[in-house]
């Protein structure tokens, strides 16, 4: 066992680091984000410039084939690059969905001409993509979606509503799964398209989250026309296409960003409780030890995954634990850190609260981390079914026509 790079990995790491040193900026404080530095509109423009530069250097898609603008590199090179890039202040939340989910789906189902048309522009940041999947009544049960598509000549006409669409407000293109046949059982009546986000009839509304931030949108479709040439997969086969996209999502979702053991350990060392330093309190120490062990467990699990990649093998299922562990850990650490601040813990104030209120911010962001990209519950189902081989749940809705399924009203949002 060792933790060093192979000679080839070390060479690539040196090159990646040198390029980043020359082209990227450092954070001015731990946890600084692109959006915090540049704001919304300037952030988008600068993100596009950054992406173009990264693509020109051959670093935008390391494992993709050169004929589509990729580098033709290995998965371990992508991991090495990601590790190096994480040390710098780079844009997050603009291109990941397009490059991680949408373009791979196009590559599985689109024509060669379409692949040639859309891939380079996505890589260079000229065109940003979003993914129109979830609906108010279809989240974990995505196949319960209701947005309708109806064939009309050479076009399809789309009506309905999508939600939790990251980046829809600045995206140029989107992939969408719709219901083309409500009389078919729910997984069998779906059809998948990609579409121009500036098509007439699309309305994007920002969603204000628990944290106050707005990273997501609701997207309304009123008689939106999409050419049949932009259909991905056969009519009624949209579920299979969606699975392709979601498999890529599982690969893209990893650890959750935010304060971790090191931050809460530092806070405990700096905190005085009525009976002495917090770091000498047995209850505090026990919690800290738990988080240390989880943090290190995830870290060494990543090492195991990297080892498999480095050997050219397919990683084992152990990588599937990362989000389910880290999202809850984030929430627990944040809550505990506010407890350590006692009455003052209620303040969300960048000057008064420790670490620029990172723990308060994390407390308000953590519920989303346990839901986005697969809820804790769905991830446990996936581990149980795909890793442990347990059977899928019994479904009462599998054979019935979709339009005969019972529905509820809980998905309707409170009106203000």
């Amino acid at each position: 066992m060792d933790f060093t790079d192979s000679p080839e990995e070390a060479t690539f790491r040196r090159e990646a680091r040198a390029w980043l040193e020359a082209n990227a900026e450092r954070r001015t404080y731990p946890g600084e984000t692109w959006k915090a530095r540049y704001g919304e509109s300037d952030g988008l423009a600068r993100a596009k410039t950054w992406q173009a530069r990264k693509h020109a250097a051959g670093l935008a898609a390391i494992t993709w084939a050169p004929e589509y603008g990729g580098r033709g590199g290995t998965p371990i090179q992508q991991v090495v690059y990601n590790q190096e890039e994480a040390r710098f202040l780079v844009p997050r939340g603009y291109f990941e969905i397009g490059l991680g989910m949408c373009i791979p789906t196009l590559h599985a189902y689109a024509t060669e001409a379409q692949k040639q048309r859309y891939t380079p522009k996505a890589l260079a940041g000229d065109e940003i993509w979003c993914q129109l999947f979830s609906e108010p009544a279809a989240g974990s049960d995505l196949a319960g979606l209701r947005t309708r598509s109806v064939k009309d000549g050479g076009d399809w006409v789309i009506n309905g509503q999508k939600i939790w669409t990251s980046g829809a407000h600045f995206a140029d293109w989107g992939i969408i799964v719709t219901r083309s046949d409500p009389r078919a059982p729910k997984h069998k009546g779906l059809t998948f398209f990609f579409l121009d986000m500036r098509s007439p009839g699309i309305e994007v509304r920002r969603i204000k989250q628990v944290s106050g931030a707005s990273n997501f949108n609701e997207v309304y479709f009123t008689d939106v026309r999409v050419p049949d040439t932009q259909r991905l997969g056969a009519v009624g086969q949209g579920w299979g296409v969606s699975i392709t996209t979601l498999m890529n999502e599982r690969l893209a979702v990893g650890d959750v960003a935010g304060p971790d053991f090191d931050e809460v350990f530092a806070l405990a060392r700096a905190t005085e409780l009525p009976d002495g330093p917090a770091i000498e309190n047995a209850a505090v120490r026990e919690r800290l030890a738990d988080w240390y062990v989880r943090q290190q467990g995830l870290r060494y699990t990543r090492f195991r995954t990297m080892t498999a990649l480095s050997r050219g093998e397919t990683p084992g299922p152990e990588a599937s634990i990362a989000k389910v562990v880290s999202a809850s850990k984030l929430q627990d650490i944040a809550s505990f850190a506010l407890d350590l601040q006692d009455m003052g813990g209620v303040m969300l104030d960048a000057t008064e609260s420790p670490m620029r209120a990172a723990f308060q911010e994390a407390l308000l962001a953590a519920p989303g981390a346990r839901i986005a990209g697969g809820t804790d519950e769905i991830l446990r189902n996936i581990i149980a079914e795909r890793v442990l081989g347990l059977p899928a749940d019994v479904r009462v809705d599998k054979e019935l026509p979709f339009d005969e399924l019972p529905t509820g009203s809980a998905a309707e949002r409170p009106r203000r």
Partner: protein, 382 residues
């Protein structure tokens, strides 16, 4: 990045699993559970023929001269089958104590026989139900004679000698030393003591003027105890991970085969999520154990922190897996006939045998505060 066992080590694992599937099958473990036999002598002889006890003992001491990674592989397999043998006492503790602190004469006297499984050693630290520490040991050695009671001593009833942690009456006030005591000599009384896991024998040992020779520098015993516990913690963590994985698989298999309400119980999310959580705990423990194995095998400065983390994760994962395995089995899991209780018993026993999880968590934080080497800041790390 090479954070995995080698092909040769995997081959050793395959060989060990095959051997143990036959020689340490659940029916054989159960035979020890249901008899007065302290351990499975036939299994022990078979392990000795494969020279497992000498895995990490250098060749000039009569060992096989492999390393700790190989020993970790064997520990995981032994833990997986709940092997009822004194392997952990003799190999992880007594052998390690001699390697760490034994004089050439002491090493020459015991290591070759330990490595061949001809002699069994044990480690005597606890003195009843209060957590032992440098300041509360009552056992005392004075003028080469040892007095006091050690209880419980794992494998104390079958061992040929004990490594005993005791106050050094001749040294500076309060100093602790390790002593090597021949348990066949005079002044030693041993009686078996019942534990929560009858597949692993324990004894009360009363010393009344037993001949005791110092092991290691006089008065330097407590840091030595800590070093010894750290090394054993890594190896036991692999036994725990092996046991946890086996309990998880047992629960999974039952959930697939047991039907209720017209369907396999493994199709209910209440069972699926329970077992998914066990899987997560086992993987976190396994990854921590791998890192500790690296630290042990390279004598890295990170060992104290890595060993404590591995011990905490593995102790919790094994007990978690064992208790939820019973729960998954429902009433059947609470019967003597099903093997679930054997994992449950072993899980709690191993979680206490080197000191409670709470104490190891405390040690972990103490060590992080001391700035003892933090996990290697690998270049390949984010």
């Amino acid at each position: 990045m090479n954070f995995a066992f080698s092909e040769e080590q995997q081959a050793l694992r395959d060989q060990a699993r095959k051997f143990l599937a036959d020689r340490a099958a659940p029916t054989r473990v159960r035979r020890i559970l249901e008899s007065d036999a302290p351990y499975d002598r036939e299994l022990w002889r078979g392990m000795a023929e494969l020279a497992w006890m000498g895995t990490a003992v250098p060749e000039h001491h009569g060992g096989a001269g492999f390393g700790y990674l190989e020993l970790c592989v064997l520990a995981e397999e032994l833990g997986r089958c709940l092997a009822p043998t004194p392997f952990s006492s003799s190999v992880y503790l007594a052998t390690e104590a001699l390697l760490l602190a034994g004089s050439p004469e002491q090493q020459g006297r015991w290591l070759p026989r330990l490595a061949l499984g001809e002699a069994i050693g044990c480690f005597a630290l606890a003195e009843g139900t209060r957590a032992p520490h440098a300041g509360n040991l009552q056992t005392e050695a004075r003028g080469g004679r040892l007095g006091g009671v050690k209880l419980p001593v794992p494998d104390g009833d079958v061992a040929d000698f004990a490594i005993v942690a005791a106050r050094a009456g001749d040294g500076p006030a309060g100093a602790v030393s390790l002593f090597l005591v021949d348990l066949g000599a005079g002044g030693v009384t041993r009686t078996p003591v019942a534990t929560v896991d009858p597949t692993r024998s324990h004894a009360r040992i009363t010393f009344e003027g037993a001949a005791a020779e110092p092991l290691g520098a006089p008065g330097a015993g407590w840091p030595l105890v800590e070093r010894l516990l750290d090394r054993a913690a890594v190896l036991l963590a692999f036994e725990q991970v092996g046991g946890a994985q086996a309990a998880l698989e047992m629960g999974r298999d039952y959930a697939l085969g047991r039907f209720a309400f017209g369907r396999p119980i493994g199709s209910f999310q209440a069972i699926k999520h329970k077992l998914a959580d066990v899987y997560v705990a086992v993987e976190l423990a396994r990854s921590n154990a791998y890192y500790a194995a690296w630290a042990l095998s390279t004598e890295a400065a990170e060992l104290p922190v890595a060993a404590a983390a591995a011990r905490v994760a593995a102790s919790e994962a094994f007990f978690h897996a064992a208790k939820e395995n019973i729960q998954t089995h429902g009433g059947m899991g609470f019967t003597w006939e099903f093997d679930c209780h054997m994992y449950y018993r072993r899980a709690k026993l191993l979680a206490l045998t080197l000191g409670s999880t709470a104490r190891w968590k405390d040690k972990l934080i103490t060590r992080l505060l001391l700035g003892e080497a933090q996990p290697q800041a690998s270049r390949a790390d984010t």
